[in-house]
């Protein structure tokens, strides 16, 4: 139905020319889903935009053809293209907050294509919009038609986006990272919705994503892109089962999965993707490839067009065989010594004043953290997971005394730090360090890396300037960066490098506790594994107690010895990693786990029933009783009335649920 042949795109910006798409060939059959996957900047979006005829200013298709049902799209006149757009080909964008016009009612926005392409009257279009919104699962669509985008939650907005794209029943829909901005739980719902609609409306779909798991679960065919080229393409099972391209293979190996052996180090791809404005000879992946030869460097491999058997094609001189390479090193994980807990959190609460207070007092509060208790032993890593907005970061900030709790205590080495004066806190500061999420924001843009790393030592008055510089060099070495980085400014480093600097700085004062808030979520997959490995190694080498905060369950599983699952300011389940991931006792934990797509098309799908439905309620007025009950399949009367306390299931495994799952249930 859609055949892209040898497509090349060029974007001219002043005297710089970028070639984000280069000789791309892909095909898509009616009713099928084609997944396009790849790292940031690999040209996925540009390919999609090229099909839509919506390349950015200065961009044009330089070669190749796009054939949609026998109609050539390249070179089509603007007016004709407009008639196709939104009618035959539609697109779903990533960020529904910015993709919806903030000052127009959603009804109008959804109805607009109908009026445009179908020439429908206002009333007809509105009716059609309502019908469509119902179809995408927006509750009470008739009332919602007159809402503004900001009045909807993220998931709802994404549904509206989808309704808008599908309202004219296009033959092809291009979904560009439709769920990246959403929580896993909602991501699963949206992707299922798209699948469902595709089959119901008989459309074809191009699903652009950087998540291999999503591809494995939702795509019929895959195109793996790297540096503007298709590295490998083929039907999903074939591509995952018999991976040929070295890049695909490396990519698959570097993702921490829920099933992998935790003691294995992750595979990581060295280096960074190439600059697309520089024309390379040879294979673009060559500089990062383990199996590289001179030929790879000199001669570009033939484009992945000629299909092998099963439509499987790849552009590689030295194809691999098999799905994955595993990390070579195995980490020795010592059993944590049972000692006095280093960090103890007792019934911690934090409430923020809500933005809009009434005119006369009556301030409402956001209950960000509502009574959390746990302990972290020396040398132990405690992982905190939960959906966005459940209070993880708020908790993390209190752990390192950056914020004072509304009530409760953080006890560090037997001393409560929460009520300490700034002066008393001073020397203890060095013991409690934090690694931030946004490596860009956490490094002073005005300071060189050397100064940044010397700063903690200077503040604490450690050593002479020369000694500090030497120490900074050591720290850099520890995190695997060359000493030359000392003289650079943060913006001269890549994201991964910056994150390493952030880690080095946190380690500069030899802390006993390290809190890492979303340490890798801003990083691309290939770089993420480098940082994860590093963190893991440092934790083990230094015997740090750490708290790792992430919304990504796989990341936490990889780094943490023990895990706490947070829901709306409360800890609903704690236990060792094996306990929680192996036999989740809380329906929420189980739901989270079920929502994560495994990068294995053969993996069994969790039944939709096990999933977490709907979205996080407002932390301003949390539900009574069990906070999860509004989204829980097992909720009963009791749940609404009584708040379940955290009670032991087995040994170290605790759960706060009136109806905990048993081992067998959580598996299914």
């Amino acid at each position: 139905m859609l055949t892209i042949r040898d497509l090349s795109v060029e974007i001219r910006r002043g005297d710089r020319v970028v070639r984000p798409v280069f000789g791309v060939s892909l095909t898509l059959d009616r009713g099928e889903t084609l997944g396009i996957v790849g790292e940031t900047g690999s040209g996925k979006s540009m390919t999609g935009l090229a099909i839509m005829g919506m390349l950015p200013a200065g961009g044009r298709v330089t070669a190749g053809s796009i054939d949609l049902d026998g109609r050539e799209l390249v070179g089509l006149a603007a007016a004709q293209y407009r008639a196709i757009r939104g009618n035959d080909v539609a697109m779903v964008f990533q960020d529904s907050m910015t993709a919806l016009n903030p000052t127009k009612r959603i009804g109008e926005q959804v109805a607009e294509p109908v009026r445009l392409h179908r020439g429908a009257s206002k009333r007809e279009a509105r009716a059609r919009a309502e019908e469509m919104l119902a179809l995408v699962g927006l509750p009470r669509p008739a009332e919602r038609l007159d809402d503004f985008p900001h009045q909807l939650s993220g998931g709802m907005r994404q549904r509206v986006m989808i309704a808008m794209a599908l309202v004219c029943e296009p033959r092809l829909v291009i979904a560009d990272e439709p769920t990246t901005a959403l929580d896993v739980t909602i991501q699963a719902e949206i992707l299922d919705l798209l699948d469902d609609l595709r089959s119901r409306l008989g459309m074809s779909m191009i699903l652009v994503t950087h998540d291999m798991g999503v591809i494995a679960r939702h795509a019929d065919r895959v195109g793996v892109m790297y540096a503007g080229r298709v590295a490998e393409t083929g039907p999903t099972p074939v591509l995952f089962g018999r991976t040929r391209h070295r890049y695909t293979q490396a990519l698959l190996s570097s993702i921490p999965s829920l099933t992998q052996d935790r003691r294995e180090e992750l595979f990581s791809i060295p280096g960074a993707p190439p600059d697309l404005s520089v024309v390379q000879a040879g294979c673009p992946f060559a500089p990062r490839c383990a199996a590289v030869t001179d030929r790879c460097r000199e001669e570009p491999p033939p484009p992945a067009a000629e299909a092998e058997a099963d439509d499987h094609a790849y552009a590689c001189w030295h194809p691999a065989d098999g799905p994955a390479v595993r990390g070579r090193a195995r980490l020795v994980v010592p059993a944590p010594a049972v000692t006095e807990p280093r960090l103890r959190v007792v019934d911690l609460r934090r409430e923020y004043p809500a933005g809009s207070a009434g005119l006369l007092g009556g301030r409402r509060t956001v209950k960000a953290v509502s009574g959390v208790s746990f302990e972290v032993a020396a040398g132990e890593t405690f992982g905190l997971v939960g959906e966005s907005g459940c209070g993880k970061s708020s908790l993390g900030r209190m752990l390192v005394a950056l914020d004072r709790p509304t009530s409760g205590e953080v006890i560090f080495d037997g001393e409560p730090v929460t009520r300490m004066s700034a002066r008393a806190l001073g020397p203890r500061r060095t013991q409690l360090q934090m690694m931030f999420q946004d490596s860009n924001a956490s490094l002073d843009p005005r300071m060189r890396i050397g100064a940044i790393l010397r700063e903690p030592l200077a503040i604490q008055g450690v050593g002479t300037r020369a000694q500090r510089t030497a120490r900074a060099g050591e720290l850099l070495r520890d995190v695997g960066l060359p000493a030359s980085v000392l003289e650079r400014y943060p913006y001269e480093l890549s994201g991964g490098q910056r994150q390493r600097v952030g880690l080095a700085r946190a380690l500069a004062l030899d802390p006993k506790v390290l809190v890492a808030d979303e340490p890798v979520s801003a990083l691309d997959v290939s770089i993420r594994s480098q940082v994860l490995n590093l963190m893991r190694r440092i934790q083990l080498e230094r015997g740090l107690s750490s708290v790792v905060i992430s919304h990504d369950l796989a990341v936490v599983r990889y780094l943490a010895d023990r895990v706490g699952v947070m829901y709306l300011g409360k800890l609903v389940e704690t236990g060792t990693t094996e306990e929680v991931y192996g036999s989740a006792a809380h329906p929420y934990t189980a739901g989270l786990l079920a929502a994560i797509p495994d990068a294995d098309p053969e993996a069994p799908r969790a039944p939709a029933a096990a999933r977490v439905r709907g979205e996080l309620p407002s932390p301003i007025d949390p539900p009574s009783g069990c906070r999860f009950r509004t989204r829980c399949a097992l909720a009963s009367e009791l749940c609404a009335q009584k708040e379940p306390p955290l009670t032991p299931v087995t040994g170290t495994h605790h759960v706060a649920c009136h109806h905990p799952l048993r081992r067998e249930e959580s598996r299914s």
Partner: protein, 316 residues
């Protein structure tokens, strides 16, 4: 929305109270013995102090302020020292004319600047854009009275098509009834604002053009013209609305200069003449009204923007 408006209103009232206090105190510092100003050069010191006592100008400032505030609340702006007239009447007599000419200038400026700014954004870096930007820079750097003078020099002296003086009629509608006589003042007001507005509109439109919803509109197959009118325009105008709201003092200042330049008898000229005459009640009242207008401008702009973009009320 209602809550938002009420809350904004409460803040505005607070600010107004602050303004009245600051302005009153400052003017009190400048002129603390009205008796001399009122009675003139030949009055004896006794007559002056009698006058001050009779009118309560010998009381502590705070007391005077409170009683002034009390009068204000009853709509009494005081009596001019020099014009044998109530300040309220004086202002009312002149307000219409000033408002009309200011509004005409503002509307004209917006009518030019909004499309121009959008055009510049759409045709970014084109010749049109560059020329308009350059012109804006130069205009921005030109004192407005010089703009007016140049206009007079060109359109009234070299090619005499417009009179150098504004209409002296005191109908507020003179902008419409005698457009020829009002052309230069209105153009002066507009020209100086266009520079700012167009550039502001341009960057706002550029901001919006980079937003995803514009791409979405394109993906729907909407022609560019409709994208601009249906989607871009409203969003891109909101920052300008905010700007105009905060620009009231500047508009008033522009009015002052234009009225003085074209000898247009309105509030601005009244203010300047009162300044010469040390007619403090008029100065005080008009400065206060300027403050009120500014606060009102901000308030209206906020409400308009909040009504158009409902996210605002949540974020404040």
């Amino acid at each position: 929305m209602t809550w938002y408006v009420l809350r904004r209103l409460a803040v505005s009232l607070l600010v107004l109270l602050g303004i009245s206090a600051v302005v009153f105190l400052m003017l009190h510092l400048v002129s603390d013995s009205p008796g001399r100003v009122v009675l003139g050069q030949r009055a004896s010191p006794e007559a002056v102090s009698d006058f001050n006592r009779a009118h309560g100008f010998d009381r502590p400032v705070v007391v005077q302020y409170v009683s002034y505030l009390g009068q204000l609340l009853q709509g009494d702006l005081g009596r001019s020292y020099k014009l044998n007239e109530n300040v309220g009447t004086l202002l009312a007599l002149n307000a219409g004319r000033s408002a009309m000419v200011s509004l005409a200038g503002l509307v004209l400026a917006l009518l030019i600047a909004v499309p121009l700014g959008v055009l510049q954004a759409v045709r970014r870096n084109s010749v049109v854009d560059r020329v308009a930007t350059a012109a804006s820079y130069v205009l921005y750097a030109t004192p407005s009275f010089l703009v007016g003078l140049l206009l007079i020099a060109v359109f009234s002296q070299t090619i005499p098509i417009f009179p150098a003086e504004a209409s002296q009629s005191h109908s507020p509608w003179v902008v419409f009834t005698d457009p020829r006589a009002m052309a230069l003042p209105v153009i002066t007001l507009a020209v100086t604002s266009v520079a700012v507005f167009a550039q502001y509109q341009r960057s706002a439109a550029l901001d919006q053009l980079g937003q995803d919803y514009i791409r979405v509109a394109r993906a729907k197959g909407l022609p560019e013209r409709l994208i601009l009118t249906r989607h871009l325009l409203r969003n891109a105008c909101l920052p300008l609305v905010m700007l105009v709201g905060t620009l009231v003092p500047t508009l008033l200042a522009g009015n002052l200069i234009v009225e003085s330049l074209f000898n247009y008898p309105g509030l601005g000229l009244l203010f300047l003449n009162s300044l010469q005459r040390e007619d403090y009640p008029v100065l005080l009242a008009y400065t206060l009204i300027g403050g009120v207008l500014t606060v009102a401008g901000n308030f209206i702009a906020d409400v308009v923007v909040a009504a158009a973009d409902r996210r605002i009320e949540l974020s404040t």
